[in-house]
């Protein structure tokens, strides 16, 4: 910093004012530096403070629920006499299950789309497709919910029924009961919702594959697919993982779409085609909060705290995985 200041001092023309040729007094960049440093570190501190405030609020409002006795919790109707932990666990399970299924569907699809855009499609088409994917990211989740409810649901219903009758020996597919308001359709809607962010991230990573790696691979006689397997995919692995984690973060916290398409239940099982088995934390809060008061509201906020921690842990895990695999990234 000190060197920059002396640099500007020596320069006869001020970049800021432009009119003066020689300027005495304090260095012109000084105020700007100071202000910018203040702004950026202020923003940095603000985000930490905000996060702290949210966590503090959740904790403060959740404490009555955490410290409540069993008898007090019995009075909260929607808990059906469960303890806080046994109420939260099925919710957490439902949240993770729907998000994981969504990832299983969305990540391979995203990799395919990203590869097509970065390596297969003609440039003009690729650009248009890229915009289209980004546009998908801008659609509000309530619209996805409506779409899932009135478009997807009647169309996947027969498919689910077929799966259930023909592959019902596989327990997760057994016992389908229409209408399709199960965790499978919720996951499908989630998959569509997280597709854009995953695709956009992966595409950016694939585009950064060093040209030399690709050309070297092709020069060794690799086909295009072999080149992608040898050069692009290993290079993009950490990018794929972090993209998936970004998508997972969105899927974990998604509320409206899940609320609208899922008939909730509080069970822990893998019957993905049955209605009324699972529920996600966020959708449950949105569903119950309007009619909740007193301790009931505190319980819901406690589940919100749990989701906060869960998301935090997932993000930490993602960081850890990415750092561990840093040797694969293009930074070396």
């Amino acid at each position: 910093m000190a060197r920059e200041l002396t640099d500007t001092k020596e320069k006869p023309v001020s970049a800021v004012t432009g009119t003066e040729t020689i300027r005495r007094g304090p260095a012109p960049g000084r105020v700007g530096n100071f202000v910018f440093k203040g702004l950026s570190s202020g923003a940095g501190i603000l985000i930490v403070v905000l996060l702290g405030l949210v966590a503090g609020f959740l904790l403060y409002r959740a404490i009555p629920a955490i410290t409540a006795t069993r008898d007090q919790l019995e009075a909260v109707g929607f808990m059906r006499g469960e303890s806080l932990l046994s109420y939260v666990l099925p919710l957490a399970f439902g949240t993770v299950l729907s998000s994981v299924i969504a990832l299983v569907v969305a990540v391979p699809l995203s990799i395919g789309i990203a590869l097509f855009i970065s390596h297969y499609a003609p440039r003009r088409l690729a650009q248009g497709l890229g915009y289209l994917i980004d546009l998908l990211a801008a659609i509000p989740s309530v619209v996805f919910g409506l779409w899932g409810l009135s478009f997807l649901q009647p169309r996947v219903g027969p498919l689910f029924e077929w799966l259930s009758t023909n592959m019902g020996w596989f327990p997760p597919f057994s016992g389908y009961l229409g209408p399709a308001k199960n965790i499978a359709i919720a996951s499908l809607v989630l998959a569509v919702m997280i597709l854009p962010i995953i695709t956009a991230t992966i595409r950016e990573v694939f585009l950064q594959t060093p040209r030399l790696h690709e050309e070297a691979s092709l020069a060794l006689g690799a086909t295009r697919w072999e080149m992608i397997r040898q050069a692009v995919l290993p290079f993009g692995r950490s990018g794929i993982i972090s993209a998936a984690m970004l998508g997972l973060g969105r899927a974990l916290g998604e509320t409206m779409a899940v609320l609208m398409v899922l008939a909730p239940g509080f069970l822990v099982n893998f019957y993905i085609l049955r209605p009324g088995q699972h529920q996600s934390v966020a959708a449950n809060i949105a569903n119950q909060f309007p009619e909740a008061s007193g301790l009931g509201a505190d319980v819901l906020i406690a589940t919100g705290l749990f989701l906060f921690v869960l998301t935090f842990v997932v993000n930490l895990a993602a960081r850890w995985i990415i750092n561990r695999r840093a040797e694969f990234s293009g930074a070396n």
Partner: protein
């Protein structure tokens, strides 16, 4: 008095001047201010005329009242353009909470205050009492999706209805349903009972009915949260309607005003089957006694769901309007009283009863007299 009488004309002239000044944007701010201040003075001095009310009147609460409230707000503001009324359909619990912490002036709630809330209500009403007025009476329809059945209503006995929602009756041509419908050929498809996924006053009312009339079949009692796991459900009334509409053979329960094109069941009362109607719903409210802790201001009702009286429709949602008998300032007290009086008036009740507003059941003359007496007690703390 003479001076006061001449004032409205003068105000109107000044207001017009102000308006002209505003549209032309030629005058200085001084003249506009003059018009405004005079208008304000006038509204404070003469409050007998209903058209002179002004201010804002915020309410929140039960979503069941949303359509009716929209109708009432429109009707009330036609007559009192100076008052801005709002109603936020946040749900009964939130509505009561917001009323108690003073963030809204009135609330709508499907359930009456419990004992603890009554204590808080007295504090919120400046040591006065809360008013609980059953001004929204709405039949809950049992809706079903059977496109093949052409009959206007399917007859369901209380036992059959309870059996369906308890999961004991699983096909539409079950003898329990078929016996009550000798003229209808019922299809052999699965009955899909649909319930509300959120805690709901509608669910509570419906299960209260089931346990009152068929307690041996519906053993879960009156309950806000659906007690049976693994059922198909929908969030809020719209979710319920969507879910029933999307599945052939589905059956659910919802505010009758929202039933739309879906079939509605005629419910067994005594020896006959009664389809929902405003008259039949109002009839059962009149046939029901008041609750034990009801007062002249809190007109809470104990519904006689197991009535056998002819022409009564037993599945009814009563939603209360909640207000204070004492407000901090005169304007709030006057506005709340005026709004509630409008809602209780035949005009207001008929407006809500229109099928495209809320399809509710207008209250009886007797109930209106008691409600208006309670509203008369609303005043400002001096």
């Amino acid at each position: 008095m003479k001076l006061a009488r001449t004032r409205p004309a003068k105000t109107a002239a000044l207001a017009l001047l102000g308006a002209v000044a505003l549209t032309l944007t030629a005058c200085g701010p001084g003249s506009v201010d003059d018009g405004g201040t005079t208008g304000g003075d006038d509204e404070n001095t003469s409050e007998e005329g209903g058209a002179e009310l002004s201010g804002t009147l915020a309410g929140s609460g039960a979503s069941s009242q949303e359509n009716a409230q929209n109708g009432w707000m429109a009707g009330f503001t036609e007559a009192n353009p100076g008052v801005t009324v709002s109603y936020d359909p946040t749900g009964s619990g939130t509505g009561r909470e917001q009323f108690l912490n003073g963030s809204v002036l009135f609330a709508g709630s499907d359930a009456a205050f419990d004992e603890e809330e009554l204590g808080m209500a007295s504090e919120r009403c400046l040591d006065g009492e809360a008013l609980e007025l059953p001004l929204y009476i709405s039949p809950i329809a049992v809706i079903y999706n059977l496109p093949g059945v052409e009959a206007e209503h399917i007859n369901l006995t209380p036992q059959a209805l309870a059996g369906i929602f308890a999961g004991e009756i699983t096909t539409w041509n079950d003898p329990a349903i078929a016996e009550a419908n000798p003229d209808i050929e019922l299809p052999e498809i699965t009955v899909v009972p649909v319930n509300r996924s959120d805690d709901s006053g509608t669910t509570e009312n419906f299960t209260e009915y089931l346990s009152a009339v068929a307690g041996d079949v519906w053993t879960h009692g009156p309950i806000e949260t659906w007690p049976i796991p693994g059922t198909v459900s929908g969030a809020q009334t719209s979710g319920m309607i969507d879910t029933v509409s999307s599945q052939e053979g589905a059956i659910g329960y919802a505010d009758a005003s929202r039933a739309g094109d879906l079939g509605t069941a005629a419910i067994g009362v005594g020896e006959e089957f009664v389809p929902y109607s405003a008259e039949a719903a109002a009839a059962i409210v009149d046939a029901s006694p008041a609750t034990e802790d009801a007062t002249d201001k809190r007109l809470t009702i104990e519904l006689a769901r197991d009535t056998t009286e002819s022409g009564t429709y037993p599945i009814v949602l009563i939603s209360y309007l909640i207000a204070c008998d004492t407000y901090e300032n005169e304007a709030d007290a006057t506005n709340v009283a005026a709004y509630l009086s409008y809602i209780a008036s035949p005009e207001g009740q008929d407006r809500a009863a229109e099928p495209d507003v809320a399809g509710s059941a207008p209250i009886s003359e007797d109930l209106r007299t008691r409600v208006l007496a309670a509203i008369d007690s609303i005043s400002a703390a001096s």
